[in-house]
C-alpha cells in the first residue's frame, strides 16, 4: 500500500499531522497501537502562550471547541496553574479568587474526584465551600452496580442523564455563585458541558478527575473521526514491526496486522510518544527508540537519569530522539531525510517547541509545513 505520508502513532501529534495533511489533499495512513497520552490529557495545551488560530480552526472543524484566555485553572488537588489555550470545558479563571462561595458536587462513592482537597484549596483563597454528594444524582442503575465507579463509566451514564443532573443541581444550589463539577460530562457529545453551563444559574467550573480523562478520551475520538471523514486510513491496534531504510531515507514499514503488505510513502512521521506510549523504551543500560533505532539524547550513567525528589524535574523525561533543525531524526549521527519526529518522542520538553500537548501540536505542524512545502523532496 502506498501513501503520501505514513504516520506512526495515533495520539495528539499524529492525529494533528494526519488531519492537516488530509485537509491539504494528501493521502495518509496512521498506525496506532491504541495507547496514547490523550487518555490522561488535562484539557489544557501547555506552553502555547500565543493564540494559535490555525490550531483553533483545525479543532473547530473536528467539532472540538477551544477557547483562549490566559489565566489560571483549578487543578484536581485544589491548586491553581497557569493556562491559556484549553478545551471548552476547562474554565480559565482571571484569578484564583473567582467566586465568593462555591458548591462542590460529587457523585456518591466516587473516589476519583477530590472534593475535600478542592474545598481546602479554595478556602485558602478565601472562598467558602459547601460539598454535596447527592445519592440520587445519576441513573439508578449506576447506584446498584457494585465495585468500581470510574470516570468513563459515570460519563457514559451522564451522556443520557445530564439534564436530570442539572435539575437536581439547581435544587441544591442556594446562595453560591459558582458550582464545581467533576469532568465526567460529554464523552460523546462535546456540547454537553456548554449546555450544563447554560442550565445552571451560577458559574460552572469543571475540574479534572483521576484518569482516564473524559475530555481527553472525547478529543481522541473526535480527532480520529475527523481524520477518517477526511479519507485518512487509521490502522487501530496495529504496530510497526520493521522499517526499511536505504540511502538515508525510509522506504517502507511492515506492521503486525497487515501480514505481508508493506506501507510505502514519500514521507514518514514518527509520533510514537514517550515512555508511556512506548515511543521510548529503556533497559538498565540505555534509553532507545524501538522502531528505527534512532539516536537518543541521554545520560550514559544510569544514576544520572533520576532526581531522588519525586516532584523535581526528572532528567529521564528530557531524553528524546536527536534531530536536526528540521526535525529529521538522526541515526548514527546522520539525519533520515524523509522522516520527521514529533511529539513526546522528542522528549518531554524542547526549547522552541515547549512541552506536553503544546510540543505535540507545534512539532506536528512544523513537520506538516515541511512536507507541504515544495522545497521538501
Amino acid at each position: 500500500m502506498r501513501f503520501d505520508t505514513v504516520i506512526i502513532g495515533g495520539g495528539l501529534a499524529g492525529l494533528t499531522a494526519g488531519i492537516s495533511l488530509q485537509e491539504a489533499g494528501r493521502s495518509t495512513a496512521i498506525v496506532s497501537t491504541g495507547q496514547n497520552a490523550l487518555h490522561f490529557f488535562s484539557g489544557s495545551f501547555e506552553s502555547l502562550e500565543e493564540a494559535p488560530e490555525r490550531i483553533v480552526g483545525l479543532f473547530a472543524r473536528a467539532g472540538i471547541p477551544l477557547h483562549y484566555s490566559p489565566g489560571v485553572r483549578l487543578m484536581p488537588l485544589g491548586t491553581f496553574r497557569p493556562a491559556a489555550l484549553s478545551l471548552d470545558d476547562v474554565s480559565l479563571l482571571d484569578q484564583p479568587k473567582f467566586a465568593r462561595k462555591v458548591l462542590i458536587v460529587n457523585f456518591q462513592d466516587y473516589q476519583d474526584f477530590f472534593s475535600s482537597f478542592l474545598a481546602d484549596g479554595l478556602r485558602h483563597q478565601g472562598i467558602a465551600c459547601r460539598i454535596v454528594t447527592p445519592g440520587h444524582l445519576a441513573d439508578p442503575s449506576m447506584r446498584v452496580r457494585a465495585g468500581e465507579l470510574r470516570s468513563v463509566q459515570i460519563a457514559r451514564t451522564m451522556d443520557k442523564f445530564w439534564e436530570k443532573a442539572v435539575q437536581e443541581i439547581r435544587i441544591l444550589l442556594k446562595d453560591e455563585d459558582a458550582v464545581i463539577l467533576p469532568q465526567v460530562f460529554g464523552l460523546e457529545d462535546p456540547t454537553i458541558p456548554g449546555r450544563i453551563r447554560a442550565g445552571i444559574p451560577a458559574r460552572v467550573i469543571f475540574v479534572g478527575t483521576l484518569p482516564p480523562s473524559v475530555p481527553g478520551t472525547r478529543t481522541q475520538r473526535l480527532l480520529k473521526r475527523r481524520y477518517e471523514a477526511l479519507g485518512g486510513t487509521y490502522l487501530a491496534g496495529d504496530k510497526v514491526l520493521q522499517a526499511r531504510v536505504e540511502g538515508g531515507r525510509v522506504r517502507n514499514v511492515t506492521t503486525r496486522n497487515l501480514g505481508g503488505h508493506i506501507l510505502e510513502a514519500d514521507h514518514f512521521i514518527l509520533a510514537t510518544g514517550g515512555y508511556f506510549s512506548k515511543g521510548l523504551k529503556s533497559n538498565p543500560f540505555r534509553v532507545y527508540e524501538p522502531v528505527f533505532g534512532l539516536d537518543v539524547r541521554q545520560e550514559a550513567d544510569r544514576s544520572k537519569w533520576y532526581d531522588a525528589d519525586f516532584q523535581a524535574e526528572q532528567p529521564y523525561m528530557a531524553f528524546g530522539v536527536e534531530t536536526d533543525a528540521a526535525l529529521h531524526p538522526l541515526r548514527d549521527g546522520q539525519p533520515l531525510g524523509n522522516l520527521y519526529a514529533v511529539g513526546s518522542v522528542l522528549g518531554a520538553t524542547r526549547p522552541e517547541l515547549g512541552s506536553g500537548a503544546g510540543l505535540a501540536l507545534r512539532s506536528a505542524l512544523a513537520a506538516v509545513d515541511q512536507i507541504l512545502s515544495p522545497l521538501d523532496l
Partner: protein, 530 residues
C-alpha cells in the same frame, strides 16, 4: 490510676517490641509501647518476608537453626493468617561445591529440620521456575510470612488486652531515681506534644536504633549495623522459596510473598549516621539481578517493582571493639546486672523468625523484676485473625460467595475480615492492584493506629502493587483527609508518600518501571496539580 503509669514501657514498634508487648499483656501487665515512626519500619519490614526453616543457619549457626525450626512450627499455629506454607528448595548449581549438600543435610537433621534430598528433575517439577542447570536439591519446610501483618496482629492483641500504643513518638530522655530508670520523656513527632510516662521496667526493643536508646540511658551497646539490599519483582515467578545450597552469601534467597517475589540480600557495614537514609546503589541492583537470575533465570526479564534495604541489628559481644565476634543469636541484656542500672532491659539481635522467643525471654526478665509469676502462653494462643487456618474457608464463612477482593481481605485480616462492611460503598476498591476495599481502609484507620498513607500501606498493602500508588494514593489520601479532618496535612502526606515510593523505584528505573514512573509523575504534576 494515672494514665501515664504502667508496669512496663516497651520502646520500639518492630516485631520484637510488638511481640514483647503482647507477651507482657498476656501475663497481666499494664503495657505501653512507644515507637518513633510507624510499626515495622526497621528491619522487621525490610527483609525477604521469609518463614525460615532454619536450614540456612544449620551449618554456620546450629543454635539459631534449632531456634528457627521450633519457632517455625509455632508460628504456623499461632499466626496462620500471616503465613503461607510453601516449602523451600536448597539448590546446588554447577558452580557450587557438590560436597556441601551432604554437610548441609547432616546439619539440618541434627538441628531437627526435615531435609529431604530430591533429584533435580523432581525439583523442576515442583518448582518450574528453578534454574534447570541445577545438579542437586534439598526440600525443607521454609515458607512465607507477612511481617507487617504479623507485627500489627501482635500489637492488636496487646491492645485488646489493655495495652496502649503511641506511634510517631520519640523517646527524648529517661527519668532516673538514683540507680534506676523510672520513666521516659517523650515528644510526639507529628504534634510536638511532650509527655512523660512512668514504669518500673523499661524494655529497649528498638532494633538497630537500640544503640541510641541505650546511649540515652548512659549505657553502651556495641552494635554492627549491616545493610542488606533486596529487590521486589512485580510477578511471583516461584511458588516455593529457592535458596542456594552453599555457605550463606549475597543474593542467594528468592522468596515468594503474596503476588510478588523478593531476592536478596547483600551485606555491608554502614555508619550509624546513615541509618535514616539507607539507599540502594546501582552496583547492588546489578549484583542482585545477576545472582537472582541464577536461582530463577526468568528473573532476568521480570519487571522489578522496587529496590529497598534494611539494617540488621547485629550485636558485637561485650568487650569486642572490632565487631568480629558477631552473633545472630538473641541478646537479652539485664542492665542492672551488666551496668548497675535498674529497671532497664535491652532485647536485640535475633531474627524476625525468633521474635516470639525473644519476647518470651524479655518478658520472663520483666516478670522476674516485677515479682510476677505467670508462665508464657504465646506459643499456644493464636493471634487475632488466626483462629482459622484457611483464609478461603474464612472468606466463605463470612460472605457465602466471596469476591476475589473479599478473599484478599480475608487473607490479610483472617477472621477479623468479618468486621468489614459488604455494602456497595464499602466494597468499592481503593487499590486495584492489591484489591483493597474502602471498608478495609476504614477498618485500618479505626483500629490499627494510622496517621499517614505510609502507615496505611503497611497495614493494608495500598500502594504496594504495580502502580506504586499512581492511582490509589490519591484516593486513600482523600479518605485520610476526611477521617482526620485535615486536608492540608493529607496533601503533604501524599507528597511524602509518592516520594517514598519513588525512592524504591528509581534505583530500578528502566523498562516498565520507568514507563509507570513517567505516567505517574506526569499525572501528579500536570493533571492533578500536586
Amino acid at each position: 490510676m494515672d494514665a501515664r503509669e504502667f508496669d512496663v514501657i516497651i520502646i520500639g514498634g518492630g516485631i520484637t517490641g510488638a511481640g514483647t508487648q503482647r507477651d507482657c499483656a498476656m501475663r497481666g501487665l499494664r503495657t505501653l509501647l512507644i515507637e518513633r515512626s510507624d510499626i515495622a519500619t526497621g528491619a522487621t519490614g525490610r527483609n525477604h518476608g521469609m518463614l525460615h526453616s532454619g536450614a540456612r543457619y544449620a551449618v554456620s549457626d546450629p543454635e539459631s537453626a534449632a531456634e528457627c525450626i521450633r519457632e517455625n512450627r509455632i508460628l504456623r499455629q499461632i499466626a496462620a493468617h500471616c503465613i503461607e506454607e510453601t516449602d523451600g528448595l536448597f539448590v546446588t548449581l554447577p558452580e557450587d561445591d557438590p560436597h556441601y549438600q551432604a554437610t548441609f543435610v547432616d546439619a539440618c537433621r541434627r538441628a531437627g529440620i526435615r531435609a529431604e534430598v530430591i533429584d533435580p528433575a523432581q525439583a523442576r517439577r515442583l518448582e518450574p521456575s528453578v534454574n534447570p542447570a541445577l545438579t542437586g536439591a534439598v526440600r525443607v519446610p521454609d515458607g512465607a510470612v507477612d511481617p507487617f501483618r504479623l507485627c500489627a496482629a501482635n500489637m492488636l492483641d496487646a491492645k485488646i488486652r489493655g495495652g496502649q500504643v503511641r506511634l510517631h513518638v520519640d523517646v527524648t530522655g529517661f527519668i532516673r531515681e538514683g540507680d534506676a530508670l523510672v520513666g521516659v520523656h517523650t515528644r510526639n513527632r507529628l504534634t510536638g506534644e511532650k509527655v512523660d510516662y512512668f514504669a518500673p521496667v523499661i524494655v529497649n526493643a528498638a532494633g538497630i536504633w537500640g544503640h541510641g536508646i541505650a546511649a540515652l540511658a548512659g549505657v553502651d551497646i556495641k552494635m554492627y549495623p549491616a545493610k542488606g539490599a533486596l529487590l521486589i519483582f512485580a510477578h511471583r515467578v516461584n511458588q516455593m522459596v529457592i535458596n542456594r545450597c552453599r555457605m550463606p552469601s549475597n543474593a542467594d534467597i528468592l522468596a515468594p510473598g503474596d503476588t510478588v517475589c523478593i531476592v536478596g540480600t547483600t551485606s555491608t557495614r554502614i555508619p550509624y549516621k546513615n541509618l535514616f537514609n539507607v539507599a540502594v546503589t546501582p552496583e547492588e541492583v546489578d549484583l542482585l539481578i545477576t545472582e537472582g537470575a541464577k536461582l530463577a533465570p526468568s528473573l532476568a526479564s521480570t519487571r522489578i517493582l522496587r529496590a529497598f534495604a534494611g539494617v540488621r541489628p547485629l550485636v558485637s559481644a561485650d568487650d569486642d571493639p572490632t565487631g568480629r565476634s558477631i552473633s545472630r543469636g538473641i541478646v537479652c541484656l539485664d542492665h542492672e546486672e551488666r551496668d548497675g542500672l535498674k529497671g532497664f532491659i535491652t532485647i536485640t539481635g535475633g531474627k524476625l523468625m525468633t521474635y516470639r522467643l525473644m519476647a518470651e525471654r524479655a518478658t520472663d526478665l520483666v516478670c522476674r523484676k516485677l515479682g510476677v509469676d505467670k508462665p508464657c502462653t504465646t506459643a499456644t494462643t493464636p493471634l487475632p485473625g488466626s483462629e482459622e487456618r484457611s483464609y478461603e474457608a474464612v472468606a466463605q464463612r463470612i460472605w457465602e460467595a466471596p469476591s476475589t477482593a473479599q478473599k484478599a481481605a480475608a487473607s490479610r485480616l483472617g477472621t477479623d475480615a468479618a468486621r468489614l462492611r459488604d455494602d456497595r460503598a464499602g466494597t468499592a476498591l481503593v487499590c486495584e492492584c492489591e484489591e483493597v476495599s474502602v471498608s478495609e481502609i476504614d477498618n485500618a484507620i479505626e483500629r490499627l493506629d494510622v496517621s499517614t498513607l505510609t502507615d496505611l500501606r503497611r497495614r493494608t498493602r495500598v500502594g504496594m502493587g504495580t502502580c506504586q500508588g499512581g492511582f490509589c494514593a490519591c484516593r486513600a489520601a482523600g479518605m485520610l483527609a476526611r477521617a482526620h479532618g485535615d486536608t492540608d496535612k493529607a496533601r503533604k502526606d501524599l507528597r511524602n508518600f509518592m516520594t517514598e515510593r519513588w525512592k524504591g523505584n528509581f534505583p530500578i528505573g528502566w523498562g516498565d518501571t520507568l514507563r509507570e514512573a513517567e505516567y505517574t509523575q506526569w499525572v501528579y504534576k500536570h493533571v492533578l496539580g500536586l
